[in-house]
Amino acid sequence: MMRHLRTASLIALATALLMGSASAETIKIGVNEPLTGAFAASGTYVVNGAKIAADEINAKGGVLGKQIELVIEDNKSNPTEAAAVAEKLITRDKTPVMMGAWGSSLTLAVMPKLMEYQVPMVVETSSASKITTMGNPYIFRISPPSNVESAAFEKIVDKLGLKKVDFLVINNDWGRGTADDFGKMMKAKGIQIGLVETMDQGAQDMSAQLSKIKASDSETVIVTAAVDQLTLLFKQAEALGMKKRIITTGGSQNPDQIIAQAGAAANGTMHLTTFLPWFPDKTPNPEATAYFVSEWKKRGFEFAGCTESFRGYDGIRTAAAAIEKAGKADPEAIRAALWQIDVKGLNGDIVFKKSGPAGKESGQSQPNVYLIEIADGKVAMKSF
């Protein structure tokens, strides 16, 4: 099964590459994602989401009367390569707009290239606050940085009745950023902050950290990590007999994968997420969600990947909308157009607001954030 998918995606890739040289009558969008290395799984999901968007747009006649073409390149989960890929997409493939580059350090490495060549990029996943506050006017982010997420969470906090929380976060920009921003927000609300523990990206055994948290006097743990580590954490927390409320953040949880892999250990955990593929009706754009989910299933991808791949879908649709608005495939025109668009994204309206130092602001949209709970092996909206 998987093998077929691999082959299918490879053929698609090869076709894309061949078409790249064959047809000049397309509008190119660069896609800079990790397809090998540590983030290969997530990068591949995002790319698959992006392809659904491109196919959908092209089926409807494309943009400005031309087909859009994704130029997909692997940045190997490595910042140096991410910069090199940006260089290639801009100078070789002449893509007027790009999407990328998943991880924050990858995106940060690409950013000087955007300044150098004055090409805008839609940032679909990266969460470091820095990205939109550094003063890079070519950055347009649709994913919520941790401060946006924490601001959204602020509205729910009172209902949860939190008193004292510990943090267990992945030791990278994402985890550290979450611990900082959520910590600040909670302190302001009078919630006590207990332990702040970290785990290495790729670490498999977190028993030591969990044992420490188990022994602390707080009642809730905020966890930030990608799905694989979350699965391990839930299993290990259960094995240690830890009975605290767990809330995860960041929106890369793939709850279905967690349910499948962690089983009963996932019951009772809560997740802050930015997309609700389970309940298309409750999303801001039910039709689009239903279409995306059915298309995703039709292509034989694992449902669990939806919570990551929708970013690729939204990212491409954002880029396409900007091209349409700009009226030409020109980087500067697209950059200007990105400020004017209003795309019905799967997790809310994509409208860019200014962020960062005056005169060279980056764009940041404000996606919705939801709290869901896993109960009896199913995803449920948390109701209060």
């Binding site: 090199a84 290639k88 924050s104 000087p112 820095k130 030791n171 920009d173």
Partner: protein, 344 residues
């Protein structure tokens, strides 16, 4: 003959931007060049003293961080209430500091780790790099940890009477990297042909004999480690000011592996080895990118490494220098031509 070849090679490299306008390839050449400098420094240890360091990226990363921090400034608290505040200096000062601090680390690591040899030395160096990585990751106040140091300024040099020259464009950086690479090449060449280099070769070939004629093992090896680490730090500095962001990922083991591959495949112990190996393995991903799937590129990369080592266990350059004279029907290998006549 050797001199003419070298001048031709440098001239060829210097002319690249004249006929190659593709910025993507130029970018690949610049990053490859930076890694080639790292590989040359590794070759000084591996090829000329026989000590395999698998933690060489540590010096590269230290150089990158030191250079970035020197030119960005920092404000960091230490135990006992000590607080260090550093105002930004020029990138050139960062470069100098990078070389000095890396060399100092090379000295410390050398003093401590040359007590062990072989597999043990390999593991100590890996461990060193890993510990440095974890410090860079966790000492958030200084390094910003995983949040990365960003906005690193481009390299600049103050020219007397002409003001400040800033290496902004790729062309500038290409010649900067080429210049530093040539300087490092000359430094290493001079060093290995000096009496210190002879002592290093002696230690590598027959340590007992070398010791018996009065060569000081620790001093010689430590000197090699200091120079090697300093050069690697310089490469790291160039990297930081070119890529303009540095995060703990720079210490990834695969980066050390890349350097080792460049050295061993090119030919350890040959001055040109890391350059040839570096250009091949640095540019191979660029060549593979358009022709195969991402995973397949890596498989090809690994397979190429295995095949090269099976065909040319001593590396590409030594294999070529052995074949070429044979083709010209000269029996004597080229490296035995130095000698008395020349000196007389």
């Amino acid at each position: 003959m050797r001199l003419i070849l070298s001048i031709l090679a440098i001239a060829a490299l210097a002319s690249v931007p004249l006929w190659l306008s593709d910025p993507y390839l130029l970018n690949a050449l610049i990053t490859t060049g930076i890694f080639v400098i790292g590989a040359m420094s590794l070759n000084l240890l591996l090829g000329f003293t026989g000590q395999l360091s698998l933690g060489h990226i540590a010096f590269f990363g230290i150089g990158a961080y030191v250079s970035a921090l020197t030119s960005l400034g920092f404000d960091v608290g230490l135990p006992f209430g000590i607080r260090i505040v550093h105002e930004p200096w020029s990138p050139l000062a960062g470069f100098v500091m990078a070389v000095l601090v890396s060399a100092l680390c090379g000295y410390l690591v050398g003093r401590l780790s040359f007590r062990v040899r072989g597999a043990y030395f390999v593991i100590v160096t890996i461990s060193f790099a890993e510990v440095v990585r974890l410090v860079a990751l966790n000492w958030v106040e200084l390094t910003q940890g995983p949040l990365a140091l960003t906005n690193i300024p481009p390299m600049s040099v103050g020219l007397p009477g002409l003001g400040e020259f800033i290496f902004r464009t790729k062309l500038h950086n290409y010649y900067l990297v080429l210049g530093v690479a040539v300087a490092c090449y000359l430094l290493i060449a001079r060093l290995v042909r000096s009496h210190v280099g002879r002592a290093m070769r002696g230690l590598m070939e027959n340590e007992t004999l070398a010791v018996s004629i009065g060569i000081d093992v620790t001093k010689t090896l430590t000197l090699a480690a200091v120079v090697s680490a300093g050069i690697c730090g310089a490469a790291g500095s160039l990297y930081a000011h070119y890529i303009k962001i540095i995060d703990p990922e720079v210490f990834a083991f695969i980066n050390t592996v890349t350097m080792v591959i460049m050295v061993v495949a090119g030919g350890k112990g040959s001055l040109a080895g890391p350059v040839v190996g570096g250009l091949i393995f640095g540019l191979m991903p660029v060549a593979l990118r358009p022709v195969m799937a991402p995973e397949a590129q890596w498989i090809a990369y690994g397979a190429a490494l295995i095949v090269i080592l099976f065909i040319m266990p001593r590396g590409i350059v030594p294999a070529l220098t052995q074949w070429m004279p044979r083709l010209r029907r000269v029996r004597r290998p080229s490296f035995s031509k130095r000698g008395i006549e020349e000196s007389a």
